[in-house]
Point group: C2
Chain length 335, copies 2
DNA sequence: ATGAAAGCGCTAACAA
DNA sequence: TTGTTAGCGCTTTCAT
């Protein structure tokens, strides 16, 4: 390339990086050579000396629309900038360390991670080398930033709503997980993940009313896992009058089972969390907690860019929540 | 690293790559040093000499669940292999060249692209350097592989179904797009993209019955674009008795407008294409054409790995389609 | 303002 | 079987 333009490599490098010390005519010469040769700098070579202009996003469960919304907003924010977003999808949060490590191995300039199952220690160590923003977990770290919805108040709102409607037999639809210990890590801090907080506040509210909490475990975070679990639940003795799902993807699965059984919101009400786009569809109309997924994605990118820019003090954001009451919750027919 | 283990760099390299010519004791020594130092090879440095063990997936519109399913199956196939999948998301198919170029700049070992707006010439040129698999477009290329659903027969099935139900005023819900010309490219081959095929077969079937085709253009490929367009349509004189949506994301948006207007399938039937997961939800129950998105993703990865492995003859796959008749289509109340 | 040259961490060819 | 060495294509420092 340099040879073709009849200039030094350094000159080409400077022009590309818009660096100081190039005359206008030099710039012209190099730029026309670039255009003519259709020259593209190799990111890998640049990575050897510095940055890759690549931001990594770890996504557990790409089928979860809450995650898609975050990816969408990150894409929107980054469009037209010099940074390229790459998503490392995994099958479940337990594989989070693999995806994050993989992104680090590829020397991305920053990482945004959505609620992976990794220890804070492990992440702290990584964050010493590379900017990291954590979405979802309520971590307190000196090295990386955190953005989470206000799970406690969101859950409170759901519980108050259901109780006010007259529900007493309220089940919490939970996913398994958070069992895995990443190698060489200390134990996970308790209650840092979003579902743990929602589960805890649910239990507290039930206890406060003298009601027995009913935790229904799904086999995983897929819609289908929830459908199966709720189908079983409906066929059992322990049928609740309302189900609070740990997140909307589970709630949608629950609604499948309920609709399939020919039941409606007065038989079994359903509330979710995240307010994914389909929740507002008039044919679904799922009561859910909005935690501003789109804004979370925007903020995450903003924070990681700030860190790339030099910030070192950690930032912790908590997004306000708002309960969207829709037709999937109603007063119970048989309280 | 090499120094710490007291061996040569070449030895380390060989152990990592499982290459020929390492004694068991050498392997042991190196491996324990790797474990102890928590050593991770830098992908960028490897890229300078060869491969990156990274596969790129270009996704237009991450909010489209058909695309998510493809990403999901690709993730599943690649889990546990030495390859890492990275997704380059864009806002619309018109930005396809940016995402693909960006992946190429990052020297991924292979690229899977979902129906981007790029010329076949441009792609052919790129495919000379890097394995490419195209999903969606019915391209005929000597250099890259193609996987597409059988759009013609799928559309035929939808049209026959609607006509058999008694519909005559059938609109095609189309998205704009495919207008953009990538720089330095020849014109796009006509009819290579999925929507063009569906639109064409729709028009043919309408003409065959002596009916005027009714093309309804949305502002884009988002669910919301379809909702707006259909809301306008319902309020106009030209209200059809059935809408065939170019793909399911548009169909879901159409159903929003229809449900919101208090209408049902007998007023305005809706059929879509792709059979995204939510289509089978009992509360949505969208008639749609299944083109096996999950299998498409699997095959795409298989093909790109085959190419990395040395295959050079192009492969073209066409997936069979199956019409899933559900409750969103019904005989018209007012034919 | 420009160019020469060192070096980033690997792999591959070759020498020992 | 092992180690030495020459690059891959950039960025950065340092002369000019």
């Amino acid at each position: 390339m340099a040879a073709a333009a009849g200039v030094s490599r350094a000159a080409v490098s400077k022009v590309i990086r818009n660096a100081y010390g190039v005359s206008p005519q030099m710039r012209d010469r190099v730029e026309s050579a670039i255009a003519q040769l259709d020259y593209r700098p190799r990111i890998a070579a640049r990575a050897m000396r510095g940055s890759t202009f690549t931001l990594g996003l770890e996504i557990p469960q790409i089928a979860n629309d809450f995650h898609s919304v975050i990816a969408e907003s990150a894409t929107d924010v980054l469009a037209g900038t010099k940074y390229q977003l790459v998503i490392a999808p995994i099958r479940n949060p337990e594989e989070g360390d693999l995806a994050i490590q993989s992104l680090a191995d590829r020397q991305v300039d920053g990482i945004v991670a959505i609620a992976p199952v990794v220890s804070t220690d492990w992440l702290d160590q990584l964050a010493a080398r590379i900017p990291i923003v954590m979405i979802g977990h309520h971590d307190i770290s000196a090295r990386y930033d955190t953005i989470a919805g206000d799970d406690a108040s969101g859950t409170d709102a759901v519980m108050s709503h259901l109780i006010d409607l007259g529900h007493r037999r309220i089940a919490f639809l939970d996913s398994t997980g958070m069992q895995y210990q990443p190698p060489g890590s200390s134990e996970m801090s308790p209650g840092r993940d979003p579902l743990a907080v929602r589960r805890r506040v649910y239990s507290e509210r039930m206890h406060a009313l003298g009601l027995p909490p009913q935790l229904v475990r799904t086999a995983g975070n897929m819609e289908e896992d929830a459908r199966v679990a709720v189908a079983d639940l409906l066929a059992s003795e322990a049928r609740p009058s309302a189900i609070f799902a740990g997140h909307d993807t589970l709630a949608i699965g629950a609604l499948r089972a309920i609709a399939h059984a020919g039941l409606d919101a007065q038989d079994v009400s359903v509330a979710g969390f995240d307010d994914i786009p389909i929740a507002s569809h008039p044919m679904i109309s799922l009561t859910s907690v909005d935690q501003q997924g789109y804004a979370i994605g925007q903020e995450a990118i903003r924070l990681v860019l700030e860190r790339i820019d030099g910030r070192t003090e950690p930032v912790r954001l908590q997004m306000p929540t708002e309960l969207k009451v829709r037709r999937s919750t109603a007063p119970p027919r048989h309280p």
